[in-house]
Symmetry: C2
Subunit: 350 residues, 2 copies
DNA sequence: CGCCCTAGGTTATGCGCTTAGATTCTGCGG
DNA sequence: CCGCAGAATCTAAGCGCATAACCTAGGGCG
C-alpha cells in the first residue's frame, strides 16, 4: 500500500510551504485564489487526504462524536438467516437502541460530524469506553451502558449526554422522555376501557426509565383502586429470564387478565411463551409493551404499546452536544419529547 | 471543561518517564509489575484517557474502519412520527444499507475495531469521503456511493471493500451476492407456478447488482419464451419516479399480470400506488421485490421477494478488511453468499 | 520620497503519543 | 570487590497538521 501523501508532499509539488497548503484547505480567504488552485491540483494529483489524526492532534479536537450503546445482542444466534430464524430476525433488529442510533446518525450527518460507534456487552467494561472516549469530542451514552463513575470521568473532560439517565451524573446532559406519563396512559386505557382488574407486571427497575414506567403503572392502578402486582423479572435481551417469569406465572396461577411488560422486547417473548403454552393473546391474556419497536408491529395482532420518539431522541442528543461544543453551557436536559400510547390488538382492542 | 490529562501528567504523578507510561499501557511485559501498578494508579486518579489521535499519528494507523454508505434518506419527512407517518416509518428504516451496517457493527465490535460512519447524499461529493478516509485504516463502501476514481484513490492507500461492486475497481476487494440467480429463481417461480406471461419490470441498471438482477430476470423469461418487458425507471429512495412509472403503466395499459421490482423499496411504493388507484394486489396485479427488508414483511400480504443475507454481507466485508490489514494480500472477492427466493403473498401465492 | 498598511507567504513550534537506541540498575559469577 | 549481561527505564526523534509570529513586496498617502 502506497505511503499516504502528506502536506509536505503537496507543498513540494505545488512549490509552496506547508503552511500555505494547510491554509488553502482550511482558510481559503488567506490565500490567493490562484495559489489555492495550484495547491489543489497538486493535492489531487497526489491523492492527498488530510490525516484526521494529525489534524485532531493539532487542533485539539477531532470533529467526531461517539455513541456508546449497551449491547443487547452482540452475537445473534447463528441461525439468524435460516428459515425459522428469518421469521424472528426482526426481534433482534432494529431494537430501541438501533432506532435511536439512526436518529443520531441522521443528525450527525446533517451537521457534518463524524460518528464513532462503540459499545460493550456489560456495563463497567472500561477499556472500550476509553477506546471511544479518546477518539471523540463528545459522547452519547445510553443509561446503564456506562457506570456512573465512568460517565463522570468522561463528563469531566468532554460534553456527555446520557439518554434517559438521571440528571444526577455530574456534568452530563440528559435526554429525557416522559416514560411515566406514557405508561400511565397505557395503564389508564387498560383500566378504563377494558376494565381489567387482575394485572401482572414484567420488567425491571435497573434504570431511571424503567423506574418511571413502573411509577406510572403503580400510580394509575392505585388511583383506580386496583391491586398493584409485584415486578416479575424480565430484561430486554435476556429472554430466558422473561420466559421463566411467564412460566412461573402460569404455574402459580391464577392467570392475570393482562400482562404489562416494560419493554416491547419482553412483551414479544412473553407472548411467545404464552402461545406456546396454548393460551390465546389477547383472548386468554392481554399483553402490552413499551417502546414501539418494529417487532411489535409484526405480531398478530399488533402489539399494544407506548411509542417512544426514538429517532428524535437521537437527534436531540446530537443537538445538545453540538450546542455544548461551541457555546459551552451548563448541562441541559431536553424536554418536549413525549411517549405516546398506541393501541394495538394485544390489549384486547380489535 | 478540564484539560485532558496526558502522558506527561501521568508520568509526573507516577514519578516515571512518559515512555514508561506508554509502555505500561501497550507493552506490559517490558515494565516491572510494580511500576505498572504505580502508573495505573496515577492514570486512574487523573482520569487519563489516551488520545487516539496522538496514538494514531504516532503509530501510523487508527484502529478504526470506515463505512461509507449511500444515503437514500438523509432527511426523512418531518411527520415521521406523526400518526400517519408512524405507520409508514418502517419504509424508511431499516433499509438494505441499515441491515448491512448492523452486520458491520457486530463484526467490528467482536474484533475490537472502532467503526466510523460516514456517508453522502450524492455520489462524487468529495469532501465527505475524505473526511472519513482520513480517519480510518480501511474503508467499506456501497457500490455507487463513491465514484470509481474516488474508490481507486482510496484503494491505493488503504484496503477498501466495495459491497456489490464490480471487481474492476483497481485494488478494491468486493463482497458479492449472486443477485442474478436470486432473481432467476423468483422469475422462474412466477413463470412456472403462476404461469404469468405479461410482465412489467421496474428498476434501474445503475450498479452491477441491479444489472445482475435484470439479467436473471431476462434470461429466465427468454428461456421460457415469455416476452421481456422494458425497464421502467424506479430508484430506491426516489418514490416519485417509481410512482410515476406505475402511473404510466396504468395509463398506457394493458395491465401486466405481474410487476417485478428490483428492490423492495420500489415494490412497496408500487403497491401503494396500485392500491391507491383502486387495484388489488395481488388480485389485479401481482408484485415482487428484492432484498428482504422489513417493510416488505409489514405488508398485507407479505411481499414476495429475494432475501439477501444483509448482516452476513456486512460481516464478510469487515472480515476481508481485517485480513487485509494484517496479512496484506491480494484483493479478494468473497463467495458463498446467496440470495434466497422468498415467497410471500403478493405474487399470488396464499 | 519616505512611511505605514495590507495581502500573501514563510518559519518554527507544539499537539500527545510511540519507539528506536542510549543509559542506568540489578543480581550474579569470578 | 569488580565486571557484565539482562532487565528496567529514560532520552529524543518524529508522526502530519494547525497556527502564532514573523517576513516581504507593493500601494496609497501626506
Amino acid at each position: 500500500m502506497a505511503r499516504r501523501a502528506t502536506v509536505y508532499d503537496v507543498a513540494q509539488r505545488a512549490g509552496v510551504s506547508i503552511a500555505t497548503v494547510s491554509f488553502a484547505f482550511t482558510r481559503p480567504e488567506k490565500v490567493k485564489p490562484e495559489t489555492i488552485r495550484t495547491v489543489m491540483v497538486a493535492a489531487d494529483e497526489l491523492g492527498y487526504v488530510p490525516s484526521a489524526n494529525a489534524r485532531g492532534l493539532a487542533r485539539g479536537r477531532t470533529g467526531a462524536i461517539g455513541l456508546y450503546a449497551y449491547d443487547y445482542v452482540l452475537d445473534p444466534p447463528a441461525d439468524e438467516h435460516a428459515a425459522e430464524g428469518y421469521e424472528r430476525s426482526a426481534r433482534l433488529f432494529p431494537l430501541y437502541a438501533d432506532e435511536v442510533q439512526r436518529g443520531v446518525q441522521l443528525e450527525c450527518r446533517s451537521r457534518g460530524l463524524a460518528l464513532m460507534i462503540g459499545g460493550n456487552r456489560t456495563p463497567a467494561h472500561l477499556p472500550h469506553v476509553i477506546e471511544v472516549a479518546g477518539r471523540v469530542d463528545a459522547l452519547i451514552a445510553f443509561a446503564g451502558a456506562l457506570s456512573v463513575p465512568h460517565l463522570e470521568q468522561a463528563a469531566a473532560r468532554m460534553p456527555v449526554v446520557e439518554l434517559g439517565g438521571e440528571v444526577r451524573v455530574a456534568g452530563a446532559h440528559t435526554v429525557l422522555v416522559d416514560n411515566r406519563q406514557g405508561m400511565a396512559d397505557l395503564t389508564a386505557h387498560l383500566v378504563r376501557v377494558h376494565r381489567y382488574e387482575r394485572f401482572a407486571y414484567l420488567g425491571e427497575l435497573g434504570t431511571p426509565e424503567f423506574r418511571a414506567r413502573r411509577e406510572g403503572f403503580e400510580s394509575t392502578l392505585e388511583e383506580a383502586g386496583v391491586p398493584v402486582p409485584p415486578v416479575l423479572p424480565a430484561h430486554p435481551g435476556d429472554d430466558a429470564t422473561t420466559s421463566a417469569s411467564v412460566a412461573a406465572l402460569l404455574r402459580e396461577g391464577p392467570l392475570p387478565q393482562v400482562l404489562v411488560c416494560d419493554t416491547d422486547q419482553a412483551a414479544v417473548v412473553a407472548i411467545d411463551a404464552l402461545r406456546r403454552a396454548g393460551l390465546s393473546v389477547p383472548g386468554d391474556v392481554a399483553v402490552t409493551g413499551f417502546d414501539g419497536i418494529i417487532a411489535g408491529r409484526l405480531l398478530q395482532p399488533i402489539l399494544t404499546t407506548v411509542r417512544q420518539p426514538m429517532a428524535a431522541i437521537g437527534r436531540a442528543a446530537v443537538r445538545l452536544l453540538a450546542d455544548a461544543l461551541d457555546g459551552a453551557e451548563q448541562p441541559t436536559t431536553n424536554e418536549d419529547l413525549v411517549a405516546t400510547f398506541s393501541a394495538g390488538g394485544t390489549c384486547g382492542c380489535d
